[in-house]
């Protein structure tokens, strides 16, 4: 059956590899993907270790539903203690690697230790080998995949790779597969680099069996129709996540020049329609009906020719609005560069924007930047900084350590200008007019992050009866209100925890479409695919268990309520521009704290954000670390 795939423990120091079955009780409690990774993280990472030491453990896990022809089911979860936040490090990646890993016989990898010299893992039909990767070291993320395919004379090999940024231990280096997909956040590529692990290659021919294959097939078709019936998915199919830009920018929900403005006034060239000049078609991850990413070509200009995929909405901010670059072409080039070097788009853009503001304010000068003039909108400076960060050269070397270290080194009040939480950069959305989204970035277990619990539904102003039915409690339909918003964030956190654990795409659950598949549909898919029974309540409890064990990990590392905070500017500086609904808005400190109190109650945590004894018992977390696997 689908859940019979194995877990492999790979010690890169000794070369020992052990494969074991995954007990069904663990599946029942944590499903797979992120859920099991979080269980493993809590069990296998000793408290307070250095994230770049051999003691850190890199976890790779496919979702429970991996392989079904629906909802983008080929996703894969990568986790470790994060080198930028020192909290939960976890990032989800689409594409085709997750499927290939499962076809090759494994659902989870626990990679510990450190190889003496560069290696890659070769995984094929139940076997795992540690292979020499000297010839891959120094290669970019595209070349690395090509060479591995050539070496094995097999076009179907799928790889997770790091680029030069991961090799150089850039703290926010990412892990990549294919042309576009990245496990971008929390520096998982840096952890790979610290282990001298250049790539994980998988190629498999093993059957993935499901409990009720015929019914599953019919239901998958129903699920694809359900998601494609939403306007959100239809828009995504045509424009990708870029579609979010027009609305949020017009309203005034986009941070511009780091955090100085909340609307990009001259940003017409970043409108999604502009991509028509460059796109040759859309591209989809495994098992996806939506296909939300552009395949684009840049034929002219100093950086041409470029063929690449993307960019995401987040890159419009990272290399557009936040650094005041007004041209789509700038974003297309920068997107290609970060992908080639293997460095997170959001962290890079966030740090560069911050540095530009510091330069403008005179906190850093030409001497600090070794002559680089960090002026707003200077695309060549942006490209140069991306290169410097990835190669740890010049001023980029300072930024390559991430916000925490860079703030400590620069000092001089630079922290005030840093839009980061727990050491991780936020995306370019300006949450001052939207308390629910602000709470979401504050409470996320992996630092400022929209994908842990963003209630994007809040922006739609849906009828309150509908919201109450979905969220199971009273929620204001006014997105500037604080009422019921803690409930929204809590509920979405549980939903996304389960989504990441079954391995389907967040954009194909209730992210921006209220009718998209959620608890009931997930429960039915799990029954048909894995033969495991869950009620809606039980699935929500599973989400709670996963989120709470993440919380427990962070508490063990010394995090507490004080870290569920927003940058000071959210409270002090009202939004200067935007439509009346978004202008003059800031987060009110006392109401934010009240929202946080309510949020802890919903999770069953105490006033300091520590899970209560009865919550721990109810979720079966009392014996953790239990070391079942």
């Amino acid at each position: 059956m689908v859940w019979k795939r194995k877990i492999a423990y790979i010690d890169l120091t000794t070369g020992e590899i052990i494969a074991k079955p995954i007990p069904k009780e663990v599946r029942q409690l944590y499903l797979g993907g992120r859920g099991i990774d979080m269980y493993l993280l809590y069990n296998h990472v000793q408290p307070k270790i250095d994230p770049l030491s051999p003691e850190n453990v890199l976890l790779v896990g496919t979702g429970l539903l991996c392989g079904i022809p629906a909802l983008g089911s080929g996703r894969c979860d990568i986790a470790a203690k994060s080198p930028i936040t020192e909290a939960v490090g976890d990032s989800n990646i689409g594409g085709f690697f997750g499927l290939e890993l499962r076809l090759a016989g494994f659902d989870h990898l626990v990679i510990s230790g450190k190889a003496e010299k560069p290696v890659y893992l070769w995984i094929n039909d139940g076997n795992i080998e540690i292979r020499d990767a000297d010839h891959l070291w120094g290669k970019d993320t595209f070349e690395t995949q090509d060479v591995i395919r050539d070496d094995n004379d097999d076009e179907e090999v799928k790889c997770l790779v790091i680029g030069v940024a991961g090799e150089n231990l850039v703290r926010f280096a990412n892990v990549r597969t294919g042309m576009k997909n990245s496990a971008g956040r929390t520096g998982m590529g840096c952890v790979m680099g610290s282990k001298n692990l250049k790539a994980i290659a998988a190629c498999g021919t093993m059957d993935i069996e499901f409990s009720h294959s015929e019914d599953l097939l019919d239901y998958c078709k129903e699920m694809n129709d359900l998601i494609m019936g939403t306007r959100w998915a239809k828009a995504q199919s045509r424009w990708g996540t870029l579609i979010i830009y027009s609305n949020t920018n017009t309203t005034g929900l986009i941070r511009t020049r780091n955090f100085q403005l909340n609307r990009f006034e001259e940003g017409e060239d970043l409108e999604p329609e502009i991509m028509d000049r460059y796109t040759i078609g859309m591209s989809g991850c495994y098992g996806c009906s939506v296909h939300c990413r552009h395949r684009y070509v840049l034929k002219e200009g100093p950086h041409a020719p470029i063929f690449a995929e993307g960019p995401e909405y987040t890159s419009l901010g990272a290399f557009g609005t936040m650094v005041d670059c007004k041209k789509m072409e700038t974003i297309l080039v920068a997107n290609h560069l970060v992908n080639k070097y293997g460095v997170d788009t959001l962290e890079t853009g966030g740090l560069v924007a911050w540095a530009m503001e510091l330069y403008e304010k005179g906190i850093i000068n030409d001497k600090d930047t070794t002559g680089l003039k960090l002026e707003w909108g200077n695309e060549e400076v942006l490209f140069e900084l991306i290169k410097q960060i990835a190669h740890r050269q010049g001023f980029g070397n300072l930024l390559a350590d991430g916000f925490k270290t860079a703030i400590a080194k620069i000092g001089k009040g630079s922290e005030y200008y840093a839009i980061q939480i727990k050491g991780m950069s936020s995306l370019h959305s300006d949450e001052r007019p939207t308390p629910s989204l602000a709470l979401n970035i504050a409470t996320s277990t992996r630092g400022a992050d929209h994908l842990r619990g963003r209630p994007a539904i809040d922006l739609y102003g849906l009828p309150e009866e509908m919201l109450e039915e979905v969220y199971g409690g009273s929620v204001s339909s006014d997105y500037t209100s604080y009422e019921g918003k803690s409930r929204m964030v809590w509920w979405q956190e549980l939903l996304y925890a389960v989504t990441d654990s079954i391995g389907t795409c967040k954009f194909q659950t209730m992210f921006c479409a209220v009718h998209a598949p959620k608890w009931q549909e997930f429960a039915k898919l799990i029954r048909l695919a894995a033969g495991m029974e869950f009620t809606k309540t039980q699935l929500m409890e599973t989400g709670e268990r996963i989120y709470t064990i993440e919380r427990m990990f962070n508490l063990r590392e010394g995090f507490s309520r004080k870290d569920d905070a927003l940058p000071e500017r959210y409270f002090k500086e009202p939004t200067p521009v935007g439509l009346p609904i978004a202008k003059g808005k800031r987060i009110e400190k006392d109401r934010f704290e009240k929202m946080l109190d309510e949020y802890y109650v919903l999770h069953g945590w105490d006033g300091n954000g520590v899970p209560k004894k009865e919550t721990v018992e109810k979720l079966g977390l009392g014996k953790e670390p239990s070391h079942i696997i």
């Binding site: 076809l103 093993m206 499901f210 098992g287 063929f307």
Partner: protein, 162 residues
Amino acid sequence: MQKILFIDPEKCSGCRTCESACSLHHEKVCNPTRARIHVVKWETAGLYVPTVCQQCETPLCETVCPMHALKRDDKTAAMLIDYNLCVGCRLCVMFCPFGGVNLDTKTGKVLKCDLCSGDPLCVKFCEPQALRYLNATKVNLRKRRAAAEKFSDLMKKMLAVG
């Protein structure tokens, strides 16, 4: 009216849902290596081409089969394998110019598209409509229309310049 499985690579998003649906339907498992359809990709060039049996008018698989195990279905015109006759010699795999016949490593049998008895599942699962099951006479008309659209765009541009 005779229908054919029509492939439009320009519309393919490369998601490979067709492979999964095909193997689930025919083999009751997800396993792209046992699917009858395969999306060939040149990832770094952004080119995706679904490949499947073309149900040729003069099928080489039928010609080379020493056991006469390939027969055309009256209803769908699909070339079907009679597994009672097939000896697994793989000559059809060797001679098919499209890679339309593949080898099932689990069973040693050869596999090819049977058009799901006239209701191809890959078509149902192909959201971008890179795969369609169309009346044979319409296929050419559709291609002509697409070509004419390009021509008409060109005409408009020329007239605008003039």
